[in-house]
């Protein structure tokens, strides 16, 4: 390897760095630009600008929709529903092992959740090295697992790269954590883009915007509002509206579960996601209402537990 690297300069100049060649006129242009302190090129390429505009439009649209959905039922916010036996039984067994905690159902969920973990400033700030270890283990074990079952070579290669970068993160010294996190995050974002081409997309990407709810409690309160709302605009009928509640609640519950550090709350969120999925897929009106009532009760319990946890 050392022998090969000795000719690295020639190798790179002939290949990947050959566009770096500058003619006399290029250098003159650069000199003039520096003297005039004027940018030769546009600093902001078109692609990012368009991405930004698209995201802004999406936020405005979603914000308008949420504003319509919420608001009229403040009096119902503090209502605590009757305890749900089924939920309570599960509530008693909320302690889950770390290994179970690390299992994710598919590649898209893994990438989405790993991205969330990497972008969770509170956890990095509070736990630093310990969190780096945890995220590194999570990334390494899941990347191995998915690399073993993926068929697309580009995806497998990227997963293997993520696995290696995860090892670095686990071994990182305090002053290396930031850089190792950045490297891992870059690889994860690249794989998210690659995976999209193969239709591997997490549904949470479609409906969740970071700015929509300030925290989990705001989302839970808004969910209760939606369940008890009398109108169902902009949906054509109540059934479609209720299915949408299921769809959105499932995505948000998974989203907050991925961010949650406390295992009991995480488990509750996962159960909410399961019930929400039933609502999304239930065709019979009566059964759907039963599921909705169950969801309502679970949300109350979670709100209560969150409140007690804080106290």
């Amino acid at each position: 390897m050392s022998d090969e690297l000795k000719s690295l300069r020639e190798s790179m100049n002939r290949t990947v760095l050959k566009h770096g060649k500058m003619s006399v006129s290029d250098k003159e242009k650069l000199y003039t630009a520096v003297i005039q302190d004027k940018k030769v090129k546009n600093r902001f390429p078109l692609v990012p600008v368009l991405s930004f505009v698209a995201v802004a439009c999406f936020i405005v649209f979603l914000g308008g929709y949420v504003f319509k959905q919420s608001g009229n039922f403040d009096n119902q916010r503090n209502q605590i529903a009757q305890d749900n036996d089924k939920v309570q039984e599960k509530d008693e067994t909320t302690s889950i092992s770390k290994q179970e905690n690390q299992q994710v159902p598919n590649l898209a969920s893994f990438l989405y959740e790993l991205n969330l973990k990497l972008r969770n400033p509170d956890m990095w700030y509070q736990n630093g090295k310990e969190y780096a270890q945890e995220v590194g283990e999570y990334a390494e074990s899941n990347s191995k697992q998915f690399a073993a079952i993926q068929k697309e070579k580009t995806i497998v290669d990227k997963l293997e790269e993520i696995g290696e970068l995860s090892k670095n993160l686990q071994q990182a010294a305090q002053n290396e954590i930031e850089e190792d996190t950045l490297n891992l995050e870059q690889a994860v974002n690249q794989l998210i883009m690659i995976a999209e081409d193969y239709g591997i997309v997490d549904e949470r990407n479609d409906i969740i915007e970071k700015l929509e709810y300030s925290d989990m409690k705001s989302w839970l309160v808004s969910t209760k509002d939606s369940i008890h709302a009398e109108t169902y605009e902009p949906y054509s009928d109540r059934g479609e509206y209720e299915k949408h509640i299921g769809y959105a609640t499932k995505a948000y519950a998974k989203h907050y579960a991925a961010l949650e550090g406390e295992s009991a709350i995480k488990e509750q969120l996962k159960e909410i996601a399961e019930v929400a999925e039933q609502i999304e897929n239930e065709k019979e009106k009566e059964k759907r209402i039963e599921w909705l009532n169950q969801l309502d009760g679970m949300v109350d319990i979670l709100l209560r537990d969150k409140k007690n946890g804080k106290e």
Partner: protein, 181 residues
């Protein structure tokens, strides 16, 4: 005819800038590319490096060579760029770049693509930043350990460790791609 002493005035700021651009612009652009892997960004960074150089050249104390000084500015600009929210949030980074790059390849380039040096170069660029930069500075720029130390503010032991780990990762990548062929 006077045979008196000829006084040589020091070069002006502008003359010095011109000389530094002539000597180092190309290397700086290439060095920047090895960090950001995007030619458009590398060009912008090169310009920013020389703008800073022009601003600070009068205060340059000569503690290091101009080359090391300019490389240090380049490294800092590249790190700022990679850490910027703008880059992290929106820029399609290497993946898009790889695609654009591949689309732009001529038939001749595609042949070159198969050659070993292309493979080695791409594998070096695919290394994580901290290993890549040391490999580039040591093997591509052929800087001495002391120069890398001055430029990166890392101690020599860390540089050696990164060099060793970088080579190991590169070795693995090469073996893996050979295995796939």
């Amino acid at each position: 005819m006077s045979l008196g002493k000829v006084e040589v005035s020091p070069p002006s700021k502008e003359e010095l800038l011109k000389e530094l651009i002539e000597l180092y612009a190309e290397s700086i652009k290439r060095l920047a590319y090895t960090y950001v892997k995007n030619w458009s960004a590398a060009e912008d960074i090169t310009q920013e490096v020389f703008i800073k150089c022009y601003e600070k050249i009068e205060g340059f104390r000569g503690d290091s060579s101009y080359k090391t000084w300019l490389y240090k500015i380049t490294r800092n600009k590249c790190k700022d760029y990679l850490k910027s929210k703008w880059y992290r949030s929106f820029f399609p980074t290497d993946f898009m770049q790889e695609r654009i790059g591949n689309n732009e390849l001529s038939t001749e380039d595609q042949v070159i693509n198969k050659l070993e040096d292309m493979e080695l170069s791409q594998k070096v660029l695919a290394l994580p930043t901290k290993y890549r930069e040391i490999i580039i500075l040591f093997y591509y720029e052929q800087l001495k350990m002391k120069e890398i130390e001055a430029l990166t503010h890392l101690n020599v032991d860390t540089i050696k460790t990164r060099l060793r780990r970088g080579k190991k990762m590169l070795q693995k990548k090469m073996e893996r791609s050979e295995g796939n062929e």
